[in-house]
Amino acid sequence: MRIVMKFGGTSVADAERIGHVAGIVRAAAGKHQVLTVVSAMDGITEQLLEVADAAASGNDLRTGELLTAIRDRHLACAYALGAHEHVRPLLEGLEAVVHGVLALEELTPRSTDAIAAFGERLSCAMLAHVLGATPMDGRQAGIVTDDHFTEADPLMDLSMFQVQEVLGPMMDKGQPVVVTGFVAANQHGVTSTLGRGGSDYTATILGSALKADEIWIYSDVDGLMTADPRVVPEARLLGALGFAEAVEMGKFGAKSMHPRALEPAAAYGVPVRMRSTFKPDHPGTLISSAPAPTATVVRAVPMLKGLAMLTVGGAAMVGRPGSASEVFASLARERINIHMICQSVSESGISLVVSQAQADRAKAALERTLRQHGLARTIDVRPGVCVVAPVGAAMKGTPGVAARIFTCIAGLGINVIAIAQGSSELSISIVVEGQSGPRAVAAIHKEFGLQGDQPQANV
């Protein structure tokens, strides 16, 4: 088989773990054609962004402190692996860029990317050294993006062509290669980064271009679960899942994949397997275009906590074209992410779910718009809510699923604050009080028999 393997930051957090990852890659390379993609060491991307900010604000002391921390951690790791010769020039390169920012006290998105990219370049150099592999950054691998630095979008057809051209022959020859995740370049060769979806996105782009048989995404968990095991102790591992279901689950929890990263794999029909570095023989969760049908209608019950609901009300909005767009535009200007939207046909109000941390800013932004346009009379904020979102491809076209969900929530005396269902019909989002969320999740999980049908997860 042809396999693209991607290792996240916790999997390469120190020398010992890098050695462990190298063992996994070597074992796989004995049986398969393997390409490896690697993230920055755990926490390094955040530190790099912090150092960029510190330098931009002229804080030389903090800049120095952070650079030293980054240098010490990588050099300690590199010496342990014998890779210091490869790491030292990269660290010098990083320091040069950061000092440039410090001198100018100006940070462009372009220089942010130049700095952030060092995280992956460093981990890539170390893993490649241990494996005796060729290290490559995303640009060398052929991934080309637009000019939206820090959140760049690949020029997909061009990237696909170039990746095939560059990496195809290397894979055919069985030449070991390690590619930086997250890092790419625009068409002029200037370093960019992929933003949301990061290294997973790199892995699915490469896997799709190389027509891989599977893309293996390694992390520290076994795969995707029917629910958060801290909420539902009976939660089980999902053995197989469809792309559409995985996309619905993508918003919930750091352990799932960003929908953007699933896009190329879904488009090119390359299955993605989520698995654990700690249990290399465990099959994990296989996400594919046509998973085997299961007995359960609902496959998983993810939950999103720490949210607030804003309700914009007032008769002035009724039948007035553009009022919704005013509401959204004012939030977009404040860069507030809207998790969920509800509006009834009466149009007398719009409810929006945003993260708790952004609720006050959202309210202030909406009040300004309201005063300007006279759109609404009231803006209510309901803090401390959560969204429970049962997911399952079979929910579409199965009558009575919603009734079963609501009956079991109502049976516990839990008040449903709002409901939204997208036209995909693969999930229903239900807003409930924060403290009721876990009980609702557990009840739905039980109602649909999710503790029974999948193989036991050894969490």
């Binding site: 020029l155 997909m156 057809d157 061009l158 696909m160 062509f161 170039q162 068409q187 002029h188």
Partner: protein
């Protein structure tokens, strides 16, 4: 000169059409001759004066922002010199640098269609577009291997990529395909799009001549190159098929050369031609697109089929869902014919 000027390609009021011409062989020279001899007529059609600001061959380039003199360029080539050796304007400079740095509106690619090495030509096209210049190619190789990527690059950089001369030369095969696909669905295509092989096959059938003799005759008349592999092994036909398939949309959209099953006519036994004739058929090198995929192979067609075209002619039959079959017949090669297609592309880019 400099990168800053590149964006001017987008400017409507650009004082003239400034052309960088890559490749100065049969087609490139025909284009220069045409631009020179029909200056006034072309200026009316283009709405602006067309100027060759750079011309490159395999060894060097001639550069002149105010426009190069065509007779001087042609004279140098007649003396087997490189345009890079012309006193005053010639330079030994890498083509890619000229593509990126010259202040120009459009880059015209007429270097050889080399499927095994599409890279320099592909890089020239991508480089031109990322520098904000329009691109015209009669070189088939880059399109055959990376058409979706090239089209994406044109979209992203908001420039035009035109290649009407790659299939059928002046016979507007691609334009007809696009037009037909507008009002109906093209369900299949059968095409003779390589003149050399059609000449050889026609000769075999009409003069009952074996393959080798017919090939030698084609070389003698200048219909085939001294190394005819590209033609007789079906490579040229397959490259054109990929371009046609992507342009027509539908089944073939997004395909590339590796998706084509290719069989040429090298060593085709004369017996097969005779057997076919006995059944009222002729053998043609047919490129086809159908639900069975992209195919190039010697194929029997009825003697009275519109695809049974003589000599080095090309013919393409489009099968339409509603409108039935439409066949276009015309010459598919020649320096002046191909240069005409380039002029057509330049005019279209100007009016888009």
């Amino acid at each position: 000169m400099g990168l800053g000027c590149a964006r001017r390609a987008l400017c409507r009021y650009s004082p003239g059409v400034r052309i960088v011409l890559i490749g100065f062989g049969v087609v490139g020279q025909a284009l220069a001759t045409m631009l020179h001899a029909q200056r006034q007529a072309l200026e009316r059609r283009l709405g602006a004066e067309a100027r060759l600001v750079a011309v490159c061959d395999s060894r060097g380039c001639a550069l002149a922002p105010a426009g190069l003199d065509a007779p001087t360029l042609l004279e140098a080539k007649a003396e087997k010199k490189s345009v890079g050796d012309i006193p005053g304007v010639g330079q030994r400079i890498d083509t890619m640098r000229v593509v990126l740095r010259t202040a120009a509106d459009v880059v015209v690619q007429t270097s050889p269609s080399d499927l095994k090495h599409p890279r320099p030509a592909l890089d020239h096209l991508l480089g031109a577009m990322r520098a904000g210049k329009h691109a015209v190619s009669v070189n088939k190789a880059p399109l055959a291997v990376a058409m979706p990527a090239l089209l994406e690059s044109a979209r992203y950089n908001r420039v035009s990529l035109a290649y009407s001369g790659t299939v059928g030369a002046a016979t507007p095969v691609l334009a007809l395909a696009a037009r037909l696909a507008t009002g109906d669905t093209i369900t299949g295509i059968r095409a003779i799009i390589n003149g050399t092989t059609n000449f050889i096959l026609s000769r075999m059938a009409e003069c009952d001549e074996p393959f080798e003799a017919a090939l030698a005759h084609a070389v003698k008349l200048g219909y085939a190159e001294t190394d005819p592999s590209n033609d007789i092994d079906g490579i040229d036909t397959a490259m054109k098929l990929v371009i046609l398939a992507n342009h027509a949309g539908g089944v073939g959209k997004g395909c590339s050369y590796s998706d084509v099953s290719v069989q040429g006519i090298r060593g085709l036994p004369i017996e097969r031609v005779r057997e076919a004739r006995a059944r009222g058929k002729v053998i043609k090198l047919i490129a086809s697109i159908s639900e069975r995929g992209l195919l190039v192979a010697p194929t029997e067609v009825d003697v009275d089929s519109p695809l049974n075209v003589p000599r080095n002619m090309n013919a393409v039959t489009f099968s339409m869902h509603n409108a039935g079959d439409v066949t276009l017949v015309g010459r598919g090669a020649g320096g002046a014919e191909t240069a005409t297609a380039i002029v057509r592309d330049l005019i279209e880019i100007g009016t888009r």
